[in-house]
């Protein structure tokens, strides 16, 4: 599979949020404003790419040679948690506004199943190092895309005339469902 197809597949066809349904928590939580959605998406993409590279190295040079596949989940979480800490420190230093806007969801990237899922998928599909990184980049940008799309819709929703029982979270979930339905249209692309 060429790298471009892999990238496109992770970005659209097998979008982590809208097709695989991974990482729904930040998808619903940080999609109220486009700005913070972009920030969250970028932070997650960064963690995904670096975590994917780091977990590939760990899998290849530690877990496989020493026959420790049962430590996969634990060591991957260790990597992800450390990276999230790093991103948090970096953001607190460079962009306090973004840091405040993302709030609790920033440390929660640690438990974002999209990241662990991506790392484990890379291993299962026996990707090479380059492939794993491209897969992570596509997945991360796909996550950002889904977040920004929903955030854009929710910003418009504020001015829409919504039936009272559907105000707030329900209408957001309906929109997310419709978005997911729309993304199934990419299924035949590759």
């Amino acid at each position: 599979m060429s790298l471009f197809l892999l990238f496109l597949s992770a970005l659209l066809v097998n979008n982590f949020v809208l097709v695989r349904f991974l990482g729904i928590c930040p998808f619903m939580g940080v999609s109220k404003e486009v700005d913070s959605a972009i920030g969250m998406g970028m932070a997650t993409t960064f963690v995904m790419v670096v975590a994917s590279a780091a977990t590939w190295l760990i899998e290849r040079f530690i877990l496989e040679p020493f026959g420790l596949p049962f430590l996969q989940t634990m060591s991957f979480i260790l990597v992800i948690a450390s990276l999230v800490q790093l991103v948090e420190m970096f953001l607190h230093k460079t962009s306090p506004a973004l840091y405040k806007a993302m709030g609790i969801f920033l440390p929660l990237i640690t438990t974002n199943c999209a990241i662990l899922g991506l790392a484990i998928m890379s291993v299962q599909n026996a990707y090479t190092f380059i492939q794993a990184v491209v897969f992570a980049l596509g997945g991360g940008l796909g996550f950002t895309l889904a977040l920004v799309l929903l955030a854009g819709i929710r910003e418009e929703l504020r001015f829409a005339d919504i039936p009272e029982p559907l105000l707030g979270a329900p209408i957001a979930f309906i929109c997310a469902g419709l978005l997911s339905l729309a993304f199934s249209g990419f299924a035949g692309l590759i």
């Binding site: 420790l68 430590l71 634990m74 990597v79 790093l86 420190m89 607190h92 230093k93």
Partner: protein
């Protein structure tokens, strides 16, 4: 047994590696609070009015300390505070250009026609949302004094003609009245500017004549007479570019509706009411 040792060693060394990395990152990305911020905050007025464009005095002090905001950025404190802030930072003080609020509507009770009666709460924003109040002009002052209520410095009052008047000496250009006005008829203008086009109506001249006796009818005489090209037409309304205006008052003389006025220290809105 062997697996246990290998697991312990490999995971232990990984964890140690990450711990070291994070410890170093903690040093590099440490968030220190600048002692200058507290010193600057001390000399600011402390009303948290937000006139500087930041979320309160603390945020402004942070911005000044990091060089994002100018030392003279506090419109309330003016030159005195600018000097004190500059002293904290050890730089030369630059006096800020003082701005004052200007009300761009002269359609008081005497000039603007009514389209009905409004019995709702005395609040411009509510009136604006409820069929646009009782005046026939949908761009002009509603006259319920939300701007006056928003002013924290006693720099505005409602005159007997139902229009807000700015007491320029008290105005700090904090912008609260600008925010409070649902019709955007209040703007902040450098205080040395005396010529103002006091109308915000985008209606055609015909429509304006029907609802108000002092509105801009888009006749363009001011545009033609202006020697510096400071006045231009946009959406049936004459607008003034304060950067180009030289206060020559040519436009004031030709304006057939007396929409453009020359303010010379005294609230002109009162005179207009007396004339009509």
């Amino acid at each position: 047994m062997n697996t246990t040792i290998v697991s312990l060693v490999s995971m232990g060394s990984l964890a140690a590696l990450f711990a070291l990395g994070l410890a170093m990152a903690g040093r590099i990305f440490a968030v220190e609070t600048d002692p200058k911020i507290d010193a600057i905050e001390e000399v600011l007025p402390g009303v948290n009015c937000g006139g500087c464009g930041f979320a309160g005095c603390r945020a402004f002090a942070e911005a000044v300390a990091s060089g994002e905001a100018p030392t003279n950025g506090c419109p309330v404190g003016g030159a005195t505070v600018a000097q004190m802030v500059a002293a904290v930072l050890g730089v030369d003080a630059v006096a800020p250009v003082r701005k004052v609020a200007q009300v761009l509507c002269q359609g008081g009770n005497a000039e603007a026609k009514q389209k009905g009666t409004y019995d709702g709460p005395v609040d411009c924003r509510i009136a604006h949302a409820t069929q646009g109040g009782d005046k026939a002009c949908s761009y002009g002052c509603l006259g319920y004094g939300s701007c006056v209520k928003a002013c924290a410095f006693d720099a505005m009052y409602m005159n007997e003609n139902g229009l807000p008047v700015v007491i320029e000496e008290n105005c700090t250009a904090c912008g609260k009245c600008v925010e409070a006005c649902p019709r955007d008829i209040i703007i902040l203008v450098p205080e040395d500017q005396g010529v103002h086009i006091r109308c915000r109506s985008l209606d055609t001249g015909r429509k304006v004549r029907q609802v108000c006796s002092v509105g801009c009818i888009a006749c363009q005489r001011c545009v033609k007479v202006c020697p510096t090209g400071a006045i231009y037409m946009e959406d049936n309304l004459a607008r003034i570019n304060y950067d180009k205006c030289t206060n020559c008052r040519e436009c004031v003389a030709v304006c057939p509706m007396k929409t453009i006025d020359w303010q010379d220290g005294k609230p002109l809105v009162l005179e207009k009411a007396a004339v009509s």
